[in-house]
């Protein structure tokens, strides 16, 4: 028996408040492998159902002997260049995030784009990705996409006829009138885009239609950074920090790891400094208004209300001055106001320590502020960084200078619309009727325009108000260009002809300008000719740029000289003017569907939100203390009243949430998103007004008494068995290991001492393996819980979506899950730990010994493989899996979102959910099937499945290497074929922005995985079971500094010298450290 020392309070780990309280519901989850399994459909079937089943069986029996359906081979007539049937081809393209470009590498098979990953040549993606990039390809094949233009008249006549010919007939004369009037009475409302193509089109509109108005709005657009840097430098600039060289990072409510156009790059840079090198790692302080992913992994998280953030910055400026970092020259106009404001700063002691820390690391400390924060904070941050950041922060020109962006611009546009002076309204993308500030009543205003045109991928809320809705080409269907945050220009190239003849915004503007015959290609080429400096970019450099995915690099950025400015007074005003009454509200983009534009993407809807693990819903996130004060539990509906309006939505009690703050996740509650996204969650935009875009104070909250079914995956797939709370508390710290840098320096193997094991003996003979032994190493220090790996796995491996009601029963199909634990006894101060868990590919796999039909077996390279055709669905393997990573297909899950058993039914009120239909399930249509990876079997009903370590990629590379070797000259080809380390990557590894996932061959002692398994931080899960997992984890090292309390040197290692551990049979001498079990011993 392992000897276990009770975990200290600090080490206490739990997954949900229910578990912390010891709720019987959680016990039920642990005890029963298949929770809520009620086979209703099999219970007392009536005669009709019986006949259906019998008929289906007979039909199938008759089919078994026949040859399968006749298949045709359709070769090309003329073969496109470089096209080989069945072989994937990569194309560089790019996509926008908050209007800024991110490089993408798209994989296309037989002309079908099937997967998007980051482009390693692009500075803002570095080959890594996030959930949106991974999920974007599914939108291309979404059957709900708008397929042709449709007019309001046709809609009212319930006759959905419409098309580009009809639209052109309508728009031709209209656009001519607009041109004749020099654009008077024309308003163009576009989503925010820094694309050079759109910049070119804007310029042409300004030239040709000087009277027309061009306004840009996105619900997440923010003018704070531009205004703040303008106040600090005289010019709006874009700051970018080099986190790979930062020792101390202070984030002022900036969720820089998970949100915004720089997130992937920042996450990659940040992670570089989280592996102990010379006993040092960086330190991240986070003033967190709400619980963000960045806050969740911060070394020290300070809970701050949004209204206190300005005060926090004032306090920091004052403390920095005390610590000898003078920014007085900047704050000259403040004087005593600053001292007063600083007094109101929360966490005074912590601020003092942070200032001291910064002063000690001058030149290597960085301050970052959330893009949503007001301008004075950004000005202050720019000023402080000038004093502390050395050359870590560089500034890039702001392409949004001089453009009408944001709530103010939108308000004037709305006023113009309401006054009736707009004759022609053209809306390019976006969904302003849904997401504009509530008090503008933009939906009513849009309806007033006599001519309105909305170009959009979906026939959404805004489209339905307009005279014409036009279908827009998907990102992968048309040409375009993007400008990244640092100015890098990339080309957007189509990988497939438009499925529904969609057009791009640039093409619509081109038509407005009366240009004839301009395709998205010629428009892009023309716009980039201007960027390139020459009139026309020559074909060679164009093709080079297409290939690389970078058209023009962004440059290094500059360090502009500072000037004074009046920001300090304004900052103090903000700090002292903050009202503290009632609840505060913070609006936060959702980690799954952002501001609502991804609402119809089932991969993202089913993705567990990283912190709450909610699926298919949003909620008001409130602190446990507030919940007990209101006497409400998870799912209780509350009414939030603020500024004269109110919304009603369910609560989710989030440990670690700031008391007195309610975080609202934006983007849900769509009414015209599509089959998947409609009526899911609750719309919070009615509370969002121009003056409270990001936060508001003085909200009144009351419980309505109603309840809503929230489905969270936080208690699913628990690895602890039913051993009671006390034992669970001993076991969990073995699973998720974390120690402080001081402890690491004192004893790097400290992570191993969490558990001591007697000599492990096996019932089974160790299998012998061939030349390769595939394995994985996951650095918990790098995991930021962003979920990119989960969606990447879903895209790569044809993993289906099951819908809300199935997730409630724990039947989600994700092969890779990210376990989120809370740490600490007090839920208010809970810290967060993430752990990605997939099939551990145990060498002595418990699943294999219980399978009655040998459907799960080992291959000669140590992979635990699942043979779908043998599986008869006993589910014993899943029952016996200690890691709970096996997923069972309860239904034929690839039936697509339109099936009645599918998503919609499972989302709202569960109509009829206890009687799943027995009718044959409608399959995915041909367009939806195009997303499937042809190298991975689509699993059917009744079989088990699980992570394969992306075996299709392993096979491919092995075959390539062997072909090459056999074909090479036998004199020089060497002993045997060689697969270089790093040539085989798994989908999750490719996606991980922090490179936390490593995959490779243990048979190669020089491979990264072999090396990492020798790292003192490396440990295996549940090593005491002696199943010898091929996945090992590297314990996370944190660096909270003096504010984290005294490190417990040898803390968790009590009794080592006394030899008092081990109540088991094994004596001290024969003890083996769990994690140091060298897998390479074979």
């Amino acid at each position: 028996m392992p000897s276990l020392k009770p975990a200290s309070d600090d080490q206490m780990l739990w997954r949900s408040l229910d578990e912390l309280e010891g709720s019987p519901r959680v016990r039920d989850w642990v005890e029963r492998e298949f929770v809520s399994y009620v086979p209703e459909e099999m219970r007392s079937p009536n005669r009709r159902q019986f006949l259906k089943l019998a008929g289906a069986s007979a039909a199938l029996a008759g089919l078994t002997g026949c040859r399968w359906p006749r298949e045709e081979i359709l070769p090309h007539s003329r073969l496109p260049d470089n096209r080989i049937p069945g072989e994937p081809v990569l194309f560089a393209t790019s996509m926008e995030r908050n209007g800024c470009g991110i490089g993408v590498l798209a994989t296309s098979v037989d002309g079908r784009p099937i997967k998007l990953d980051g482009n390693d040549l692009h500075p803002l993606s570095l080959g890594k990705s996030d959930v949106f990039m991974q999920a974007a390809v599914l939108d291309l094949y979404d059957p709900d996409r708008s397929k042709s233009p449709i007019s309001k008249l046709a809609r009212q006549a319930a006759n959905a006829a419409g098309g580009w010919a009809e639209f052109d007939a309508y728009a031709g004369p209209l656009f001519e009138k607009v041109r004749a009037a020099k654009g008077a009475g024309c308003l163009i409302l576009s989503e925010v885009s820094d694309s050079p193509l759109m910049a070119d089109m804007r310029k042409r509109v300004a030239d040709a239609l000087p009277e027309a108005k061009f306004v840009e709005w996105s619900p997440l657009s923010s003018v704070g950074v531009s205004a703040g840097t303008a106040s600090a430098f005289g010019e709006p600039m874009r700051p970018m920090a080099d986190l790979s060289r930062a020792d101390v990072i202070v984030s002022i409510d900036r969720d820089f790891l998970a949100y915004g156009p720089t997130a992937i790059r920042y996450a990659a840079d940040f992670a570089k400094r989280r592996k102990p090198v010379d006993g040092k790692i960086s330190r991240l302080y986070m003033a967190d208004a709400g619980l963000s992913l960045t806050g969740a992994i911060a070394d020290l998280r300070l809970k701050v209300k949004p209204s206190q953030l300005a005060g926090f910055v004032c306090g920091l400026i004052a403390a920095l001055r005390d610590a000898g970092v003078a920014i007085d020259a900047w704050a000259s106009d403040a004087g005593s106001a600053l001292a007063d404001a600083a007094k109101s700063a929360p966490h005074a002691d912590a601020i003092k320590q942070i200032a001291k820390d910064i002063a000690e690391h001058r030149g290597h400390a960085v301050l970052m502020a959330g893009a949503h924060l007001p301008a004075p904070i950004h000005a202050a941050v720019a000023a402080i960084n000038a004093a502390i950041a050395g050359d870590l922060v560089t500034y890039f020109a702001d392409p949004r200078k001089g453009r009408s962006i944001g709530a103010e611009a939108l308000a004037s546009a709305a006023a113009q619309l309401s006054s009736g002076s707009v004759q022609t309204l053209i809306i390019l993308g976006g969904n302003p009727a849904f997401d504009a500030p509530a008090e503008l009543k933009l939906a009513d205003a849009i309806a007033k325009a006599p001519n309105s045109i909305h170009l959009s991928e979906y026939d959404n809320e805004t489209s339905r108000l307009c005279t014409w809705h036009c279908n827009r080409a998907h990102l992968l269907e048309a040409w375009g260009a993007t400008r990244a945050f640092d100015g890098t220009v990339s080309i957007v190239q189509p990988l497939i002809a438009p499925l529904y003849e969609g057009r791009t915004p640039a093409e619509l503007i081109s038509a407005l300008l009366g240009e004839r015959g301009m395709s998205s290609y010629s428009l892009t080429r023309r716009a980039l000719g201007d960027v390139g400096g020459t009139a026309v970019v020559d074909d060679v450099s164009w093709n080079r740029a297409l290939h690389d995915g970078v058209f023009a690099p962004g440059g290094k950025g500059e360090k502009p000289s500072a000037r004074g400015g009046s920001w300090c007074g304004e900052l103090c005003g903000l700090a002292t003017g903050a009202k503290a009454e009632g609840f505060e509200i913070a609006f936060r983009p959702d980690y799954r569907i952002n501001a609502g534009e991804w609402a119809n993407n089932p991969w993202l809807q089913e993705l567990p939100e990283p912190l709450t693990k909610l699926t298919w819903d949003n909620a008001a996130l409130i602190a446990p203390s507030d919940a007990s004060r209101l006497n409400v539990r998870n799912g209780a509906m509350i009414r939030i009243e603020q500024g004269g309006t109110n919304i009603t939505l369910p609560i989710f009690i989030l440990p670690g949430q700031v008391a007195g703050l309610i975080t609202l996740l934006m983007g849900y509650g769509r009414s015209a998103a599509g089959v998947v996204g409609d009526e899911i969650g609750f719309n919070v935009y009615p509370l969002r007004r121009a003056e409270s875009l990001w936060s508001a104070t003085g909200a009144k909250v009351s419980a309505t008494g109603a309840k809503h079914q929230l489905v969270t995956a936080q208690d699913h797939h628990m690895m602890e068995s039913d051993v009671g709370k006390a034992q669970t508390q001993k076991r969990l710290p073995e699973l998720v290991r974390e120690y402080r840098i001081e402890e690491y320096n004192d004893d790097p193997t400290g992570a191993h001492h969490v558990v001591h094991l007697p000599t492990l003996q096996s019932l089974w003979q160790d299998p012998q393996y061939g030349p390769h032994r595939w394995a994985m190493a996951i650095d918990l220090g790098g995991c930021i819980g962003c979920n990119a790996c989960v969606v990447a796995c879903q895209a790569e491996n044809n993993i289906p979506v099951v819908g809300k009601q199935e997730v409630e029963m724990g039947r989600e199909m994700h092969w890779l899950r990210i376990d989120r634990y809370f740490r600490g006894e007090n839920p208010e101060e809970a810290r967060v730990a993430f752990q990605p868990v997939m099939c551990q590919h145990c060498e002595l796999a418990p699943c294999e010994s219980v399978c009655p039909v040998a459907a799960t077996v080992h291959d000669s390279e140590g992979l635990n493989v699942m043979v779908y055709n043998r599986c008869i669905g006993t589910r014993y393997c899943s029952n016996n899996c200690p890691f709970k990573v096996r997923r069972f297909n309860w239904f034929f899950n690839h039936h697509g979102p339109q099936h009645p058993r599918s998503l919609k039914q499972g989302t709202v009120g569960f109509p009829n959910w206890k009687q799943p239909s027995l009718t044959p399930q409608k399959l995915l249509n041909d367009i939806q099937k195009m997303q499937h990876n042809p190298d991975v079997t689509v699993r059917s009903r009744g079989v088990m499945e699980k992570c394969t370590f992306c075996i299709q990629r392993i096979s491919k590379e092995k075959i390539r290497a062997k072909n090459e070797w056999v074909g090479a000259d036998s004199a020089t080809r060497g002993e045997t074929y060689h697969i270089a380390d790093g040539t085989i990557t798994t989908a999750c590894q490719d996606a991980c922005p922090t490179s936390a996932i490593h995959f490779g061959d243990l048979g190669d002692p020089k491979s990264a995985v072999s090396q990492l398994r020798k790292d003192p931080r490396s440990y295996a899960l549940l090593a005491q079971l002696n199943v010898k997992p091929r996945v090992e984890y590297l314990a996370r090292v944190t660096n909270p500094g003096p504010l984290g309390g005294q490190p417990k040197l040898h803390g968790s290692h009590g009794g080592h010298s006394g030899g008092a551990h081990g109540e088991g049979a094994g004596g001290h001498d024969s003890d083996t450290h769990a994690a140091s079990q060298p897998a390479s011993a074979h």
């Binding site: 002997g65 081979i73 080989i84 049937p85 390279e861 043979v867």
Partner: protein
């Protein structure tokens, strides 16, 4: 008892007495029927019965016997990707036209107005319209098995080993069972089929069994051919 209707009387039907004498035969009948079902299912639905010899009619009466046999064209002239990728593609129409722009059995080279009786009619129609020729797949593995041509032909398995003497087939048919046991037979004993790498597409090449085994063993040793019988080799 009888039922009377307006038209006629229906009396209940009684089996005659002698039927009872057949009762003892019922058991025998059941046994025989069971055996019969097993035999029919085993042999009738076996790949040898259902798949081998499958010869669907192709849209163009293309003769492998003429091209690969009589004219001696190498397989790779058309199936160019066979050494490099999983699929040994069926060539695009333009490959056919490479020769058949000039070579035309019926001497009519008017592609705009092809003669409907012409064997090349469908080819010319496809070439003019740009639509693919709808060839019918003969060797059709289930979708859950992933066969890779390049992994076999680059290591010494000849085309004829799986496809038979295509050079003698007017219309191609399926020669082998393509069942899993058939695959495994060779994966377990590749010596029986390995041939020198320059004889891969040679349809005539054949050695006496003992010579084949000796050469196979030598080639296996030389090129380290150790085909795996793991499930994961073909199933993903």
């Amino acid at each position: 008892m009888s039922l009377r209707t307006k038209e006629r009387t229906i009396t209940r039907f009684h089996f005659p007495r002698w039927v009872d004498s057949l009762k003892p035969l019922l058991g025998g009948g059941a046994v025989f029927g069971g055996l019969y079902a097993v035999v029919v299912l085993t042999f009738g639905f076996a790949p040898t019965a259902t798949d081998v010899g499958y010869m669907p009619r192709q849209p163009i009466p293309y003769s492998h016997a003429l091209h690969a046999g009589e004219l001696g064209m190498d397989c790779r002239y058309c199936h160019t990707t066979v050494e490099h990728t999983a699929h040994a593609w069926v060539p695009p129409t333009q490959t056919c036209l490479g020769c058949h722009t000039n070579i035309h059995p019926n001497k009519s080279t008017d592609t705009a107005n092809p003669d409907p009786k012409d064997k090349l009619n469908n080819l010319l129609v496809a070439a003019t319209s740009g639509n693919p020729v709808p060839w019918v797949r003969i060797h059709d593995l289930p979708d859950y098995s992933y066969f890779n041509h390049s992994a076999h032909v680059t290591r010494g398995i000849g085309c004829a080993s799986c496809h038979g003497r295509v050079d003698r087939m007017e219309e191609v048919w399926q020669q082998e069972r393509l069942s899993m046991s058939w695959c495994l037979k060779c994966h377990r004993n590749p010596e029986e089929h390995l041939r020198p790498l320059d004889k891969i597409t040679d349809m005539e090449w054949r050695l006496p069994r003992d010579e084949q085994l000796a050469l196979g063993a030598k080639l296996r040793e030389e090129n380290k051919i150790n085909p795996s019988t793991d499930c994961s080799t073909c199933h993903r």
